[in-house]
Symmetry: C2
Subunit: 347 residues, 2 copies
């Protein structure tokens, strides 16, 4: 009898890291299937042990999947939602890891059938490098993972995504999509622009050769985000443009204020630096408390696997992966073609 199936679409840094974390769980009772537009990425993810199986098409990866994770740039997710609609099993839970949330919730509403539950997600984790090779099972350890359910998603679906997030070691944060987009523009999207601007400024200057020789860990840390995936960054800027530009202008104002303080010199500069140091040290030493979603009880099962498939979802997922799917590439069809007898549909 088939096991519940988790599908990962997009096996880059994030998708492959999710796969590695899911596959590393002892006595797991689910199967992990993945696909990537670049089949080589999915093959590499499988080779790394992040997948049980790499699929060659959207139909194949979605077939019988109870949980579907879209780990692709925002604008690719739109297309996948549009195309997935006819392959998704009834009752499937669809989530994503995209950097902006308002657009994707709208697209899910627009494209997904009513019997599918969409719960948006966004792990606040990343790395200098992209692609499956950079993935690691502990990428999400203690990271905040924003969770933005669609109005239509039922409580079981929200719990399933919360369970998934917790089983990856992250801490879920229940938040409204519009609020999410506004705040991540400040703490995540603007920093990309800051990194890009700082690197370009020095790189394009006449003194680049000597300046780069003198650059230390500060320059390297501050320009790290300029090495991120440009497609992801472009999609962020396209789907969250107003919020990003708002914070960009506020940042420029802040720089102007600081520049004026430096021109004047003296005690105000020292006060500004000291109070900022104090505030940041406080932030680092006492990071903000991350609340659980209001109105949604935390997964109660002690068992980690139990936490991933709470309530009736486990049984329903088993059921889904047994059901013959719409696609001709599904296992039942393949078995028939190869002359392999169907597995008994017991239980």
């Amino acid at each position: 009898m088939a096991q519940p199936r988790i599908a990962i679409i997009g096996t880059g840094l994030i998708g492959t890291s999710i796969g590695l974390a899911l596959m590393s769980r002892k006595s797991r009772n689910y199967e992990v299937v993945g696909a990537d537009r670049d089949r080589g990425n999915a093959r590499q993810a499988k080779k790394m042990g992040a997948l049980d199986r790499d699929a060659g098409s959207l139909e194949e990866v979605l077939s019988g999947a109870g949980i579907v994770i879209l780990a692709v740039p925002v604008q690719a997710a739109r297309q996948i939602l549009q195309e997935s609609s006819r392959y998704l099993t009834e009752g499937a839970v669809v989530t994503d890891t995209c950097s902006t949330k308002a657009d994707i919730l709208r697209w899910a509403e627009e494209f997904l059938p009513e019997h599918v539950h969409f719960v948006g997600g966004h792990p606040m984790a990343g790395k200098e490098k992209s692609g499956p090779a950079a993935a690691s099972a502990d990428l999400f350890k203690d990271a905040t993972w924003a969770v933005t359910p669609s109005p239509r998603a039922n409580e079981d679906a929200v719990r399933a995504v919360l369970g998934l997030v917790e089983s990856l070691g992250a801490i879920p944060l229940y938040i409204d999509a519009a609020e999410h987009d506004q705040y991540v523009a400040a703490v995540s999207h603007l920093p990309i622009l800051v990194s890009v601007a700082l690197f370009r400024m020095v790189r394009d200057s006449a003194g680049w050769e000597d300046a780069s020789l003198l650059s230390g860990p500060g320059f390297r840390d501050l320009t790290r985000l300029a090495s991120g995936d440009p497609t992801m960054a472009r999609d962020i800027l396209a789907t969250n443009r107003e919020a990003v530009l708002h914070w960009l202008h506020r940042f420029q104002d802040e720089l102007t204020t600081i520049g004026k303080a430096i021109e004047l010199g003296g005690q105000p500069v020292m006060d500004l630096l000291s109070s900022t140091q104090l505030d940041r040290d406080t932030f680092v030493l006492h990071p903000p408390f991350r609340r659980r979603p209001e109105g949604v009880a935390p997964p109660s099962a002690q068992d980690a696997i139990g936490r991933l498939f709470v309530g009736g979802l486990y049984d329903r997922m088993k059921d889904m992966s047994n059901r013959p799917a719409a696609s001709p590439r599904d296992n039942a069809e393949l078995r028939r073609k190869l002359g392999v007898p169907d597995e008994p549909a017991e239980r």
Copy 2:
């Protein structure tokens, strides 16, 4: 018989890390003495094994020292240079670790006696935290260490500092002080302002609570420098103001350019992000080649200790630490006071 003596003035993150690295060397043939304006810091450094001895005054720490390392903020270094003058042993080599180099070279010229050799230094290494507790022996491993000799310093003095730098695991970069200050303004000082501005902007916004909950490693990395020592940053801004303001304005221009590209959207944004990613990846994968000082041969001795005290310096340093120093706090004077016979001055 006394061993050559290295004096570290300022036992914060940098001074204590230097001490730890120097003390960790096997079969070392020198003594490490340290002092700090805050005596508690020096005691902590000694407790951590970064010093053989902590001294209670400038006279005491300088007495008989062949190499003197000023590991203090720039403006404190000025005062120390001024006050050290009468305690420095003839032929002593004085170096520093300050973030800007033009002013300190001028002060060394102005305040140090002619028989003392000043060779400026600046390790491109740091940490989020300051103070001795954050120190580590490998802080300088593979870091660039700018070396800016004063016109008066002789070749032996330059070699001694190069040997010191290499014995700490760093890679010396011989550079003109004015050039140094211009380039570090771009890669080291402006990044501090960028970190401070980014942190303040989010911290002072109405959405701070939610924004901080959503902040991940990107925000943390980009604001790291805002947790640096404010006195050090203030001194940097005071002694390198014009260069910092120059780069600050260029940075604002760069942000304006990027903001316009985002407003327009489309392919130009993607091109900008892609080319920056490529350039930064190239910079990280193939870091620039760090040249040895021109005209100064690398220390030739195979032995690491030999590298630290090349040429005739070792013997001269031994000689220095045997000589009765000017201060009444020196060992000879102390021995006399305590009735302890002088050690034989053999060899």
